[in-house]
């Protein structure tokens, strides 16, 4: 049993232990701590050994035809995402407390741990089947969490929407994955092992036409999971309605699954399939950046706005992926990490605002900076991180992606045009973030209440996330060192 197996099994065991009557918060915290430490160990080990190859391999063959292995391993890319997951999980467990009045604490923590375990399993799986299966593990916990502990009047409708929508997405994805493994398996030996499916360099067994049609369901499936325009309408309401830790985990970690899948599965295995849909993808990702950006501007509620902003930023990651070079993919992974932390941070802060205020309607708030300076400052950090200010990892990733698109671009192609348009999103995100910040924290105090500042218990996770963003923003090579030649490796 490797350290990676441990990381995946610990939350599951903790969930089982809670279910069997253990003390929910203690066990969840213990599991989160353990995972955080193990995740750091994994990360450090990867830094030492280099991220180009798979490490910590383990596998149990479950079926022979088709070959199905319960196997885990990490390379640089999954290492980064594992790190992201353990950090966000830790913070999510730390900040959860406010919603517990509505139901059983056990169910709450079990759901959280299962979501985390699912994400970890999906990121580490070496097998297409379990890559998919682990992600689905989050479906029911999310449904329960939003339904029982959710916020707002629309929580019921929202819980249904996210469940069904993501369910449809996963099923489409499943279809694509089956078509993929069937087509790419070596003759007579069907297998789900991603490594064995990879075509030998230079020659691809599938014609461009076949690749094209297999790529489509993968794109749509992953797209739905990542809230690619126009499949994005589940995301913002769900994040607004979800209890804080779920929003953090879902927006911060789980959503990255689709992007990870693009990089791990769709792009390397179907390069020509991507070429066929490149134009479409560019249009859609511009939809994310520009159209959803505009939608974000006109949101009236803070939680919705943050949710939409998260949808918008997915466009940049897709842009990085569409660049098809190591710079872009490295930037995309870095952005997954950066966005994961920053959106989790925003949701954590938004959640604590929700606990303190009667409403999150932006225009009915004002001047809170005076009475809650800590929250105002940390929210400022989060907002600036999210709009890609230098010093935060988000900026490093954005600029990497932009440079990637122009690598060796002597003249303007569609990718370059799309990138220039996408650049405008930087302005859009500044508009909505600063407007909200100005309206909520600055200006004259609206209303008579002086709500309390951020609770002491919340400060550690919040500061931790800010420190990580700054650290990786000042030294993005910490992350990028693991992904020097992602494109070539995959």
């Amino acid at each position: 049993m490797t350290i990676i197996d441990l990381i995946i099994i610990i939350p599951i065991l903790a969930a089982v232990a809670i279910g069997c009557g253990g003390s929910a918060r203690v066990l969840a915290l213990a599991a989160a701590w353990a995972n955080l430490l193990l995740g750091l160990v994994v990360f450090v080990t990867l830094v030492a050994k280099g991220g180009d190859e798979m490490h910590f391999k383990s596998s149990w063959v479950l079926l022979h035809s088709p070959e199905l292995t319960l196997g885990f391993a990490v390379d640089g890319m999954s290492g980064v995402l594992v790190l992201l997951t353990v950090i966000v999980t830790f913070c999510a467990v730390r900040v959860s407390s406010g919603d517990l009045g509505k139901g059983s604490g056990k169910l709450y923590y079990i759901s959280l741990l299962l979501i985390a375990a699912g994400a970890l399993g999906a990121f580490c799986a070496t097998d297409l089947f379990f890559f998919y299966a682990f992600h689905e593990l989050a479906l029911i916990p999310t449904f329960l969490m939003i339904g029982i502990y959710g916020n707002g009047r629309e929580k019921v409708a929202t819980a249904w929407k996210i469940t069904i929508y993501l369910g449809v997405g996963s099923l489409i994805l499943l279809g694509g994955l089956i078509a993929l493994y069937v087509s790419l398996s070596p003759p007579g030996a069907p297998t789900f092992d991603i490594a064995k499916l990879a075509p030998s360099p230079g020659e691809h067994p599938l014609s461009a036409e076949v690749q094209k049609w297999i790529f489509l369901p993968l794109l749509v499936g992953f797209g739905i999971l990542v809230s690619l325009f126009p499949f994005h309408s589940w995301a913002a309401p769900a994040y607004a309605a979800a209890p804080t830790p779920v929003a953090m985990l879902h927006a911060g970690v789980l959503k990255k699954f689709g992007l990870y899948g693009m990089l791990r599965v769709a792009m390397p295995l179907l390069p020509e399939g991507f070429e066929a849909w490149k134009g479409l993808l560019l249009v859609l990702l511009l939809g994310n950046i520009l159209y959803v950006g505009l939608v974000t501007i006109s949101q009236r509620y803070l939680d919705r706005m943050i949710g939409n902003s998260s949808v918008m930023h997915m466009g940049y990651i897709f842009l990085g992926i569409a660049c098809c070079n190591s710079i872009g993919w490295g930037g995309a992974v870095l952005m997954m990490f950066a966005h994961g932390i920053s959106i989790a941070l925003l949701f954590a802060l938004c959640g604590s605002l929700r606990e303190r205020l009667d409403t999150l309607e932006i225009s009915r708030l004002g001047g809170l900076g005076g009475s809650m300076p800590f929250l105002a400052v940390t929210f400022g950090f989060a907002a600036f991180a999210s709009i890609g200010l230098p010093g935060f990892a988000n900026f490093a990733s954005e600029i990497t992606i932009f440079f990637a698109a122009f690598k060796d671009a002597g003249e303007m192609g569609i990718l370059q045009v799309a990138t220039i348009l996408a650049l405008w999103g930087v302005v859009i995100s500044a508009v909505y973030m600063l407007r909200a910040y100005r309206s909520i924290f600055q200006g004259e105090l609206i209303g008579e209440r002086y709500p309390a500042d951020l609770a002491q218990s919340m400060r550690l996770p919040v500061v931790l996330m800010i420190v990580i963003l700054l650290l990786t923003g000042f030294f993005p090579n910490i992350i990028l060192k693991l992904l020097p030649n992602l494109f070539e490796v995959l």
């Binding site: 088709p66 059983s104 089947f129 029911i140 339904g147 499943l174």
Partner: protein, 492 residues
Amino acid sequence: MLPYYLEICVVVLGSLMLCMELFAGRRSRAKIAMVGVAGLGVIFALLMFAVCSPGEDLQYWGIYHFDKWAAFYKGLALISTLLVLVMAREFAPVFKHYTSQDEEKSGIGEFYCLPIFVCSGLMWMASAKDLVTIFVSLELVTMGFYVLVAFMRRNVGSLEAGVKYLILGALSTGFLVYGIAWTFGVSGTFNLEELSVVLAGDDIPSAPVMFAFALLIAGIGFKIAVVPFQIWVPDVYQGAAMPVTAYLSVASKAAGFIVFLRVVDPFLAAPSIREPAIYLMVFVTCATLIYGNLAAIAQKNIKRLLAYSSIAHAGFLLMALPALGAAGTIAGPGPESAISFYLAGYLLMTLLCFLVLTVVRVATNGEDLTALEGLGKRSPFLAFAMLVGVASLAGIPLTVGFFGKFFLFNIAIQNAMQNGLWIVVFLAVLGAATGFYYYFKIIRAMYWEGSVSEGEVTGLKVGRLAMLAIILLVVAVFFFGIFPAPLLGLTL
């Protein structure tokens, strides 16, 4: 030990139980059920260890076959009967409420015995490769079910369901016999192996063969609830007693499917009619997928919901059919083993759900979704068990239901890639997505709804045997959801 001794054992067991009932007087009949459970357990052990001879295809008198599938489906029949008995015992209070509080007059002893005889029919069906045998065993099963469905004689729903099942069942029998007659007419044989040889010939007139095929589909399709012959399912499932519903949806369907496969196989194997037969199957599949899944959306009665879900599952199972006879071109488990695996998984998860529902039914006296409200607080374990069952039905990964669906999708997608039958895949995706909705409605009822104040939190009373069964089923659902190989290996 000869395989057909198993059926004899079952019949003997049933007779034994009847004798016990005869001499039981006014005493409790619970022991009879226990004897049944124990006996079935022994017979299952015999099947596993004394009889099973993998790889060998035994034939007796040309009408009784014993191959790996026969063994597999016999196993399914035995286990489901066993669990239904456990369930029936748990259900006894409700049963008595609708018959008589008196042990003797209520007829609960017979209620325990009848499934045993039905089981023998189911086991015989698994071995039948001859239209006559199929007909007889099928009727044996159906007849048992007529009685079981209508058994609660003071319950209007049960009687109504009984009559509906009786009339429609007899109607389907008529079509089946008529179909058998026509099959005999075009081929001159009842034996399915001979039939496939005859049908493979060139000079077979395709129109009457297809007519016969259509009639057979109607007759057997009725048992496995495929559209457009599903019409009885919701009413009968709703009206029948909980264990009977479970039995119908699991055992009857599983046995129906093996028969269906065996009957359809020669037709699909015949080159001259393969094409139209597949065309017909695809239509039936699509209709079943749509109907089962969509009509389930608005259901409020759990049994009715599960009835539609049972139709939907039939639709998923049918997806594998076009691949029949095209073996070797499919990566992964072939259609027969995928279907068998799915049915086994279906048995586990459905019986799990029905066991929980039985307990809830006894406690709350309700069969609507509202009866489940607050279960998450009243009895976290039962709610969890139900959650597992429902998740598996919906096809959430790491449960056996997902693997089942996965193998079927695997086949359907490969079919589509080869033949362009994408409509089936599309509808299956739509159906599975709809499934998330109506299955999750159950989860919703258990966890979101209903406020139980602290004082009311009283665990539901669960019999020890039922509890054991529930735990085992939960474990099995997870186990086979992660390690499908042991179960799949039995079907390959």
